[in-house]
């Protein structure tokens, strides 16, 4: 059964230095508050996994939490670059960042195999690309029935999977709706999981498009209203597009970034 914990305690209990951690949410429901708590608790040497690193990993990378990134598209959507991600890859600042790079289809299937507890997934992908050459997590596999050659990618089973959802009930059952991304797969692929939620309700009522994760499949739930800002939670908030634009000049400069993080993230824990 999922424990209802406050966010600080949930991160302290679930996320350790050196862990492989996936914070997911495809534009919608990105668990920013949990990332900020990981930053405040000064976790180090994390392997961060995420389809779209987005601002959430730009911040974690810039604050030195990560030594490795597994991803498929690293930009500020509709705005431009992730400057902290680029600075880490291009100039090792604040630390070198190892990269394991996939396409959305490939990384998604790595989560699917992880959730299904098989060691690899099979798909049509990557053939003829440079990704095949630079990656140790892309292999060729032959169909035992047709002889056709396809691509295999290894399962990802993070130590911790973290998502944001709209609701939990008091027993820790979780419901999310709207764009649901790979959230179920990440929770099920991970050894431990944390769901931050907008609201704790007495009883969940299934919504159209609603996905329910039973309490016994989740490690911990933390009530964090607004915990996905500047992303959004359908039915609770709108995406703060202005923040994504404002992030461009903040993140472009190391000092401006550090100052902003100090003021808006680290200070919140004091």
């Amino acid at each position: 059964m999922a424990e209802l914990l406050d966010l600080g305690r949930a991160i302290a209990e679930l996320v350790h230095d050196g862990d492989c951690v996936a914070l997911e949410g495809f534009t919608h429901l990105i668990p920013f508050a949990a990332a900020h708590e990981i930053i405040r608790q000064r976790r180090r040497d994390l392997t961060l996994v995420r389809l779209t690193p987005d601002l959430i990993y730009d911040q974690m990378i810039g604050m030195g939490c990560a030594s490795k990134l597994v991803f498929s598209w690293g930009g500020n959507p509709g705005v431009g670059s992730l400057h902290r991600l680029r600075d880490a890859v291009e100039h090792d600042w604040p630390a070198p960042l190892e990269v394991d790079e996939h396409s959305h289809a490939g990384l998604t299937n790595r989560y699917v195999a992880g959730a299904a507890r098989i060691p690899f997934a099979v798909l049509r992908a990557y053939v003829g690309t440079g990704l095949e050459e630079v990656s140790s997590t892309i292999a060729t596999i032959t169909c035992p029935f047709t002889g056709e050659r396809l691509t295999a990618v290894p399962a990802i089973n993070p130590d911790v999977g973290i998502i944001h959802a709209q609701q939990a009930d008091r027993r820790g059952n979780v419901q999310l709706w709207g764009l649901i991304g790979v959230q179920k797969e990440v929770v099920l692929a991970s050894a431990r999981s944390l769901v931050t939620v907008e609201e704790v309700v007495d009883e969940l009522t299934l919504r159209p498009g609603g996905v329910v994760l039973p309490s016994w499949a989740v490690s911990a739930v933390a009530l964090v209203p607004g915990g996905c800002h500047p992303s959004y939670a359908a039915g609770y908030s709108e995406r703060d597009n202005g923040f994504y634009t404002a992030w461009e000049p903040i993140s472009r400069d190391r000092a401006a970034f550090s100052s902003w993080m100090d003021q808006h993230v680290l200070a919140a824990g004091r």
């Binding site: 495809f26 534009t27 919608h28 389809l51 779209t52 991803f71 498929s72 598209w73 690293g74 930009g75 959507p77 509709g78 670059s81 992730l82 991600l85 680029r86 890859v89 291009e90 790079e101 996939h102 396409s103 959305h104 289809a105 998604t108 299937n109 989560y111 699917v112 798909l123 049509r124 992908a125 990557y126 053939v127 003829g128 690309t129 440079g130 990704l131 630079v134 056709e148 050659r149 709207g178 764009l179 649901i180 991304g181 790979v182 179920k184 797969e185 498009g209 959004y232 359908a234 709108e238 995406r239 597009n241 994504y244």
Partner: protein
């Protein structure tokens, strides 16, 4: 161009892309110009264009242009919202998408794309966003339209990195790789339109936009550009096309 209003090169690109989206087609749509072109086409000649966003929205009918690929407006107006694994496995890999649109930092003469790095992979000069959905969109969609501005930085003789295969090293390569879609059918730039030669698969200039000279296009291409003997001039945006496009842009991100 006497009876047309002034228009920007971006507007010309968007309109040229929109014209390719014929009614009833199922399109895999990325954010930015592809999404604008697809929604413009829906307002004009293709009311039954089916828009699929990789965030999981199938048959989205946004009332205003979304600002991100995961806007709530996409889920709210979709026929169906599914998980990201389902989008990629059942719908894209399943061969159900007629057309995809892709951008890139670099394209080569065989319409292969780079969105990974400028410079060497291990020590990049510029780290680009990476693959996203592109390799499999280009592999599995029935056809692909590529949209990018044309210059010797973007139209290069040799890609720094092959993120996405267009026609590989030329005729027959897609088939040898087992790619199921037909590959790129059109490249839309700020200068004109390029299409793969049916025999050589090499990108060939088939249209220049109004006011653009062939010499300029050749100069802004990093390889000796093939030019079609039947080179035409793109029809300028009509009043209706421009009016709808500007209205869409003005209302972008507002809730209907």
């Amino acid at each position: 161009m006497s009876d047309t209003a002034p228009f920007s090169t971006d507007e010309m690109m968007t309109v040229a892309a929109a014209r390719e989206l014929t009614d009833g087609k199922v399109c895999f749509v990325g954010i930015g110009l592809p999404s604008t072109a697809a929604n413009l086409a829906r307002r004009l000649h293709a009311p039954d264009l089916v828009l699929i966003y990789e965030s999981g929205a199938i048959g989205a009918k946004p009332r205003t242009l979304p600002l991100s690929i995961g806007d709530g407006e996409l889920a709210d107006t979709a026929d169906s919202v599914v998980s990201v694994p389902e989008i990629f496995n059942y719908w894209l890999q399943g061969g159900r998408i007629d057309l995809g649109m892709l951008g890139a930092a670099q394209v080569d003469r065989h319409a292969n794309l780079n969105t990974t790095v400028i410079g060497p992979y291990e020590q990049p000069k510029v780290r680009l966003p990476g693959a996203g959905g592109a390799p499999e969109i280009a592999g599995s969609c029935g056809e692909v339209i590529i949209v990018l501005r044309q210059s010797t930085r973007t139209f290069v003789d040799r890609l720094d990195f092959v993120t996405t295969v267009g026609f590989g090293d030329g005729p027959g390569h897609r088939e040898r790789l087992g790619l199921r879609g037909r590959g790129p059918s059109l490249v839309v730039t700020d200068l004109g339109l390029l299409r793969p030669d049916p025999v050589t698969c090499e990108l060939t200039l088939t249209e220049v936009h109004p006011g653009v000279g062939v010499d300029e296009v050749v100069q802004r291409t990093g390889w000796p550009l093939a030019v079609s003997p039947q080179l035409r001039t793109t029809a300028p945006p009509t009043h209706e096309e421009l009016a709808w496009l500007r209205r869409l842009e003005a209302e972008r991100g507002t809730r209907a």
